[in-house]
Symmetry: C2
Subunit: 468 residues, 2 copies
């Protein structure tokens, strides 16, 4: 096949030109990144947003009336903040009402307990359940138990969640919350109560989602505060026959419609390519949803707003997604992945902020190994904001965690979570737990990240490891 030399010359010329442009662009990118950092650190916007959400909306359990108030709040807020587009996408969510949760030790030493129903739990009979407790150190120990130990009793999983900066203690113990009721019911338990999946010593129980399994009886499931779990453990040392009274009145009431609320800063040259930064709008019902995940909503909204205020739109579209019903099982995230499957190949990268408001100390990616060094170099300006370069094993955050299976690169902006599980899923998740300076540092990091990703000329695909 004959070919003219002209196109090759043109190609070389333009490659060289692009090379020059890239250097200039690289400088510009770093300058803009530094400006975004400064603007974010000087701004109270992120704190104002989370204050507004927690004060004007407060608890917003997916599927509740308050959830729709939160959706309206989000649309109004995003519309006021200079985004090019604001829209919402319907998500079908289950409706679960907490009702009342009461428990007490009947004998050997009568004492009231502080408990909370786990999300999705069925209720007890109206008169409650009175039964002996059988204690296990962990879900694994329960699984190894003889059914005769468990039959007709209330299982008590007494697994202490250790404290780590990364929050990895949660992953050690949370199985008891999510899958404990199945394991207990399989051996004939009447109910299950767990030591809260939390690192605090407060007299507050930590709620959170639990699951049932087709074909296994649905038994009531609750968590007790850490001091209450200590109390029962000390009673069991005195007398192995501890009788618990448990009454839960939650209700599963079918389905309702919630919404992923989405806002965009339209890309200047590649508007159909998307940099997704997300957080979840729903919260548990007992706190005001400040750290989980009002903080994330504030961080990514502020980041998008700051980018919208730049003199020029970045190349790619920056899409802020406020997910529905994360707490009930990543429902908004899964719904998004399905609704947007036609354009997932256009998602350059995605990241979710859902770990409170502690300082971001590290940036991890999940990109092609061949791109990892280049993308780290491209984000080097984030180090001035305290963000060190990390590894290539990011999960990206709960609502984007399924995207790598579709080939979408993700990043994790790793936050200091030392105290996150002190407050997580409790009434204590309130505005006062947020440090405005740390929140601003988060907003700065997300603004820098989203901008730099929107400007990047690095090919991040195909992923070397699909998921963490």
């Amino acid at each position: 096949m004959k070919s003219s030399p002209l196109p090759l010359l043109f190609t070389l010329f333009f490659t060289g030109l692009v090379g020059c442009q890239s250097t200039t662009t690289a400088d510009t990118n770093q300058n803009v990144s530094a400006q975004l950092q400064q603007k974010a650190l000087e701004s109270s916007l992120a704190y104002d947003i989370v204050e507004s959400l927690t004060v004007e909306v407060g608890p917003r359990l997916a599927g509740s009336e308050k959830d729709l108030i939160a959706v309206q709040w989000a649309e109004n807020k995003l519309n006021s903040l200079g985004f090019d587009k604001v829209y919402k996408e319907a998500v079908k969510v289950p409706v679960w009402q907490r009702g009342e949760a009461k428990a007490s030790i009947v004998s050997p030493f009568a004492q009231p307990l502080v408990i909370t129903a786990l999300g999705g739990s069925v209720g007890t009979p109206e008169e409650g359940i009175n039964a002996p407790i059988v204690r296990f150190e962990s879900l694994e120990a329960l699984k190894l138990a003889e059914p005769s130990q468990v039959l007709g009793k209330i299982v008590f999983i007494d697994h202490i969640t250790p404290r780590f900066k990364t929050g990895k203690g949660y992953s050690i113990t949370v199985g008891g919350r999510s899958r404990g009721a199945i394991a207990a019911a399989e051996k004939g338990a009447l109910a299950i109560v767990i030591r809260s999946i939390g690192t605090d010593h407060d007299r507050m129980a930590h709620t959170g989602m639990m699951r049932y399994q087709e074909g296994v009886e649905k038994i009531p499931a609750a968590a007790m505060s850490n001091p209450d779990a200590d109390l029962i453990a000390l009673m069991l040392k005195r007398d192995p026959n501890v009788i618990l009274h448990l009454k839960l009145t939650p209700k599963n009431l079918g389905y309702a419609t919630s919404y992923n609320v989405i806002a965009e800063v339209t890309g200047s040259s590649k508007p159909d390519e998307i940099v997704l930064i997300g957080a979840h709008l729903d919260s548990w019902d007992e706190g005001t949803g400040a750290i989980d995940d009002g903080a994330g909503v504030a961080i990514v909204t502020t980041a998008g707003h700051l980018i919208s205020q730049l003199p020029q739109r970045p190349a790619r579209t920056v899409r802020v997604v406020l997910y529905a019903a994360e707490e009930l099982g990543l429902i908004g995230g899964k719904s998004y992945a399905k609704a947007h499957q036609h354009e997932l190949d256009k998602h350059y990268i995605a990241a979710e902020s859902d770990f409170g408001a502690g300082y971001i100390y590290q940036l991890d990616f999940n990109v092609a190994d061949s791109a990892f060094a280049a993308i780290q170099a491209h984000t080097a300006s984030m180090q001035a904001n305290g963000v060190a370069m990390g590894n290539n094993q990011a999960s990206g955050g709960p609502d984007v965690s399924m995207l790598p299976n579709h080939g979408v690169p993700v990043a994790s902006l790793r936050q200091d979570g030392t105290d996150y599980f002190d407050y997580h899923h409790t009434p204590n998740d309130t505005l006062d737990k947020i440090d405005p300076k740390a929140l601003a540092q988060n907003a700065a990091a997300y603004a820098q990240f989203a901008y730099l990703m929107a400007q990047s000329e690095i090919e991040l695909r195909p992923l070397t490891s699909k998921t963490k």
Copy 2:
């Protein structure tokens, strides 16, 4: 008048001898003091006692069934610990039942609140009260308000309790709790809610006693958690018309009998002279009464026990008094002062432990100024246990605070109360808040103090300042 020189010689001789004995005795006293310190620091007894009380009894509101269980527990415990006498004295106490406490913001932003009824409060009508809030920075600001500002509203005293090692922040704000309902009712308020008298940021309301006044209407009184008070303050910034719904169902049910429980190590040479170390046995009903005042019960009981285990009884009687119904208004303390008025002149000194389990850092007295230097020298061995010499303006602790008015010297073993008001009068007053090492240091200090007082040859009366 003629006099023989012989008596004078004898007097001089015996004075010299007593002087020599004193020096020897002083050495012995310091040695025993050091031994007591070591034994206490090596012993887990104090922690075992507070664990036993919180696990086997738990909440023990004066006048409740649990209060009598606590009295029985105390008699059993003291009888097992080597005291020479254990007895109880009846105390008439009011019976107040907490019932239910619910509150929520109705408008402009509907949100549930975390509140608790103040001790002694009357209830609301069954349907609750819906009324606008009127906010005051302090009790003093409320007192200065025009009645027209308050009439028909719910008063909200939003006074933040500052944190101090000495706990003095409490005395700044507690007037709003104890006397706020009177001031609010005098101006026509329907109810009063206060920011909790607490230094924490936990979503827990702090209960505590409140008062009514003859001739002034009794209105319902509640406290809300600090984060809830923050929330209302932020709503008021957005809209001055904040409507609160308040429902309280406490009941005042007359009177019951409780008991001061008393144990003694009988003095060897001055058995009718008394060194009183006390704590209160009752607790509020929402925690397990660990720091308030299970810790004090454990500290003074351990101190008395350690003295009972010495090879020789000290000169004076060491009397451990576990007071009834301190929380409801120093009722056990006042009852003791009345029942023992015939022997108050034989009370050498008194001190109460009722400020948690923080390290004791200072020993204050209220004794004759002329005796102050001598009694400080006499207690110098306590410095090895971290207890510095303090001032001569001690109050002695709540249940002994009335004794200086009867001429009885008192001492305050000052504890580090930096975090005491984080947990005080909340569900969070549980065993895990106690550091076993700090508790043992307290027991050591009380053992040393009680022993040295029982051996002292210093005349502490008459008091220079009757009360602090």
